[in-house]
């Protein structure tokens, strides 16, 4: 078993419990132990920089300090958490003046952060070459005939510093589970983030375009890797409910993997 510190984040503890459960089960089967980070705090999401810039770097850095204390690489499952934690690390590593201010703030809370933590998304771990080989070997109920489109959203496909480097993690995991891949051109498009709550009239049509493309191309499932994306895609779907004969199912990639691996 390879051990990782696991930062679940608020969403996986509230609306995205299915993501949390399936991710842990699948990770275990593929040889990874996710050790929940004890005493973690909210990453502040994309809301905090608007209220206080220093705090928006220091609050995630406290989590990074906790990770350093246990000396494991960190894995997260939410696009927003990934971005926020990497943003904090980036600012601390690239800008000495912010680093010293973050450290001064952390010091008051009795923590130190050295800037050494590796921060990865669960996709990067589970779609590594060895894990993929293991997945292919262990599939018990191949997702044969299931037409799956994948969706990364902006945070998981965006800037190299903060998002994932361009990749095909989701594609490989889905084909590895035996699913038939449906290519959509909008897989890296932004899901609208909190604009879906604040300006639904503007944001929802953009999200609906993503769903429409997937459906037009005949996808039955849309595999996602971020709770915010799923929330917004579902919201957009609700608006068109009734108009589409066979609704597209929007699932976390780990739920599909769990099915293929026979996790009950």
């Amino acid at each position: 078993m390879i051990r990782y510190a696991y930062y679940p984040g608020c969403a996986l503890q509230t609306v995205a419990r299915d993501y949390d459960t399936s991710l842990r089960a699948v990770s275990r089967l593929l040889g990874f132990e996710l050790v929940v980070l004890e005493g973690w705090n909210c990453c502040g999401a994309m809301s905090l920089p608007t209220a206080n810039y220093l705090l928006s770097l220091a609050l995630p850095a406290r989590n990074l300090a906790l990770v350093e204390e246990i000396g494991l690489p960190l894995v997260v499952a939410c696009g927003t958490c990934l971005n926020t934690l990497r943003r904090s690390r980036h600012a601390c590593n690239q800008r000495p003046e912010w680093r010293s201010r973050v450290q001064a703030a952390l010091h008051r809370a009795g923590r130190t952060y050295r800037g050494e933590v590796e921060i990865g998304h669960a996709l990067e771990v589970l779609a590594g070459p060895l894990a993929l080989a293991k997945l292919r070997r262990q599939v018990r109920h191949p997702l044969k005939g299931l037409r799956v489109a994948v969706y990364y959203g902006c945070q998981l496909s965006g800037p190299g510093v903060q998002g994932l480097t361009p990749s095909s993690y989701l594609e490989e995991l889905m084909t590895g589970s035996g699913a038939e891949l449906v290519n959509i051109s909008q897989k890296a498009r932004c899901c609208g983030n909190n604009l879906v709550s604040t300006r639904p009239d503007e944001a929802l049509p953009l999200v609906q375009e993503i769903l429409n493309e997937a459906m037009t191309k005949g996808a039955q499932y849309l595999a996602v890797a971020c709770p915010m994306c799923r929330h917004n895609l579902l919201a957009a779907q609700k608006c068109t409910a009734g108009c589409t004969p066979i609704p597209l199912r929007i699932a976390y990639f780990s739920e599909l993997l769990a099915e293929a691996l026979g996790v009950t």
């Binding site: 509230t14 990453c43 608007t50 810039y53 770097l57 800008r95 300006r199």
Partner: protein
């Protein structure tokens, strides 16, 4: 003609020379001077549409056009997708600049609205069922607003149902977050 496009339609707006400095410092020291007005950021922005573009807003900030910039829709609708930062050939962290503008927009709203509350209401809306949002949020803000910072929307489940005490591990995290908050309030630039 070409240069006319470089400048937002300003009407009688007055330039405020401290404004670019304020924004740059709120954006963690972004170097707005480096912007070459190429428009790459506007081209990838998912919310650009018919409104003011990212490039124009950057130029507006640089020119000190505070009231024009604050009236612009962009800071309000920006989803912080980060595409603009990815493509900027000058290495400007454009989305950090928009964060700074979001902050100026929010704090220029009428007194009495809590910056904090505004920030977290949307997050709570995305993560929690409607029924417990309003009442729970009010209760948490009333009893221990920093629990929102420490535990995000989970704070509503922890404190919003009238339960009195946080479990030990959470209490410890909350105390540390309170100290972080205090430190940040003392150190944060304007």
């Amino acid at each position: 003609m070409a240069t006319a496009h470089y400048f937002p339609k300003t009407g009688m707006a007055m330039a405020e020379h401290d404004f670019p400095k304020l924004v740059a410092s709120l954006a963690g020291g972004a170097s707005l001077a480096a912007c070459c007005q190429c428009g790459a950021c506007s081209a990838v922005c998912p919310v650009a549409g018919p409104r003011d573009t990212v490039r124009q807003v950057i130029q507006g900030v640089r020119s000190g056009l505070r009231s024009w910039v604050l009236k612009s829709e962009l800071p309000r609708v920006c989803t912080v997708c980060g595409y603009c930062t990815t493509v900027c050939p000058q290495g400007i962290e454009v989305s950090e600049v928009i964060y700074a503008l979001k902050r100026v927009v929010l704090s220029s709203r009428p007194a009495g609205t809590s910056l904090f509350r505004d920030c977290f209401t949307h997050l709570a809306a995305a993560l929690l069922p409607e029924a417990i949002q309003e009442q729970g949020l009010a209760m948490v803000l009333d009893r221990e607003p920093l629990a929102l910072l420490a535990f995000g929307p989970m704070a509503l489940a922890m404190l919003g149902d009238g339960r009195t005490e946080l479990p030990g591990e959470n209490r410890k995290a909350l105390v540390e977050v309170q100290r972080l908050y205090q430190a940040a309030m003392e150190m944060e630039a304007p």
